[in-house]
Symmetry: D2
Subunit: 202 residues, 4 copies
């Protein structure tokens, strides 16, 4: 394939990018100052060497250690482990400043993306959970996935996978609560949301 | 004001209608078959005589009795009273088929619309609550308003207004639970929603 | 049908109104001050008596004469006749302040709406054109319809219908020019628009 | 700046990309297969060596010659020169299959982007025009820019810049015609569009 078409096809794999915008990217790059592409290339080449995947929680961070700041933090509550799909989800929870436990980043939702990689992820998760349960007094795993079919499916799989461990070690497995989210109008809510909001009323 | 301009200004008071669409309504009516306006007029004239406001819950219904079907229903659970803003909210809850108690329709959110009418509404609500508590064993009032600033403000006002009655009669006051609603992605959730979802995890 | 459902079905015939908004209209009306519906009814009843359809151009206007202001205007250029689909189109052209001729309002686009009424409209148009050609020196008919399939189809029908008269009386038939309209970006233009813009370059 | 933040800031310069999407790009890249970034880097590095800017029309093309296919085409009509803002605009015109002349790609609209580079572009344009007029019988320059303020401004500047040459060599300068573009409704058209559509009626 020709360089231009190849670049268009690579940009089309970026999240949210269609063929038209991918083509605009290429023409944009052609017209940028020559140093722009050089800078882009250098930083792309450095990306995977400077952003390290934490051996424990699988989040990406910039540093030289094997473990990210949260996993290295002695003050973090290691009796809690929150499972999220993406690094950005973890950042959203951190911004809310209410959770002080540990994390595990799946790197995607199971079986819709990365089907082949789902097994290794679950395997890593289960090793981590086993270790945490034995050595750090794990009390609760919080499944914190998006409230959509993929998130529900992934959550079910994880729960099924972890139940034997939870029985063996005596920790609980919870899922984020459903209900009205900020901005939701009752009139436009579906039955599942109303049901959850009823059950979680207080 | 001229008839056309007057009609445009009346249609502009309809929910969600701007000047352009209001004008299109008028031209649409001018070009409709003569019987269309006649039918519209007859049904508008009949509306308030055929749609009765339930003396108990303030919802509108078509009938000859003083009380709507739900308020007349001997099987409905009169220990529960759900407060909603609009008739359409009540219909959304009924569609979810999970709540079998009674309702009270505020007719709008307090203090942003119908400021002048808020007092009478609260007064009616408080009479109803008093009666339900004495005669029908009211155990819980569920405040079921939209998860936005107006809904929160109205809920706070109602709660403040009903607390003395709740202490006197021993019923509880709850609010619909917050959390992730169907379709919500964690990445885009605000801190309040994440906090509620954490608190309501199970 | 019950009054509420009947009103919902009538509002659903208004341009751009779906079932949900139609229902909101009804609840809005139920909760409005009683005088609101009275005002609405009075003005609806007066609409067709105060808004008169001009006997000549078929536009609607408020008045007591048989002819609208433009048709009565001795200074308007009666050698030009512009055919538009809707009253609102005529107003858009008037706002542009560049055309000083006469109008004819079709009342819709042919054959997609008002199929049954298309014949009478074309008949009225042809009588008007005949009269204008004989008595007022008609030189040009400008077909001014929207640039979409319905507009094109209607324009074709009108042109076909008027060609014999144009030959008999010696007037021309033109159509509004195509090209880039304000805000159009070349990148997103279709072949027809680019073709027209090329042909109309100056 | 750290690699991740630097990459986010570079992606934010891509057309239509905000901070949130730029960040998603980085996390997407971190999770892709290692070969993806390698492929991206190789193709980015090759881009400017394989995509050549045509010495004549300034469009980008993949090849080894100094001139693009259109500029090298002996059958193209060299009496016509169309000035467009972007490579993608040229492709849109080519897709419409109606123009068989030559092109010149500005590489952007003047004075809003690339202010500093506008002079050289106009200089190149004027050299090309001079050469075409002397050697290839240039008869018409077609200014084919978007119908918005930036396009109008750029067109005015180019026209002003080329008028002396047009007088000296006897070619004409035209601009793409305005009017209703495909899909435009008369009701929503502005006065400029209606005026142009009236002037270009046929």
């Amino acid at each position: 394939m020709r360089t231009k078409d190849k670049l268009v096809s690579l940009f089309m794999k970026f999240p949210g990018i269609g063929s038209r915008q991918a083509e605009r990217f290429v023409y944009f790059l052609l017209r940028t100052h020559p140093t722009f592409i050089e800078e882009l290339v250098v930083n792309l080449q450095n990306l995977k060497s400077t952003m390290i995947k934490c051996e424990s929680c699988h989040s990406y961070f910039e540093g030289v250690s094997n473990y990210c700041a949260t996993c290295s933090d002695k003050n973090a509550d290691s009796s809690l482990l929150m499972i999220v799909a993406k690094d950005i989800d973890m950042e959203a929870v951190k911004k809310a400043s209410l959770y002080e436990g540990k994390y595990f980043v799946l790197g995607g939702l199971l079986s819709l993306r990365n089907t082949d990689e789902s097994e290794p992820y679950l395997h890593s998760l289960s090793s981590l959970v086993e270790k945490r349960a034995r050595e750090e007094g794990l009390k609760e795993i919080i499944i914190a996935l998006s409230a959509n079919p993929e998130g529900d499916h992934t959550g079910d799989e994880i729960r099924r996978y972890l139940i034997p461990l939870s029985k063996k070690h005596g920790f609980t497995i919870t899922t984020l609560g459903r209900g009205l989210s900020t901005g939701t109008e009752l009139e436009y809510s579906d039955a599942d949301t109303i049901k959850a909001a009823m059950e979680n009323r207080r």
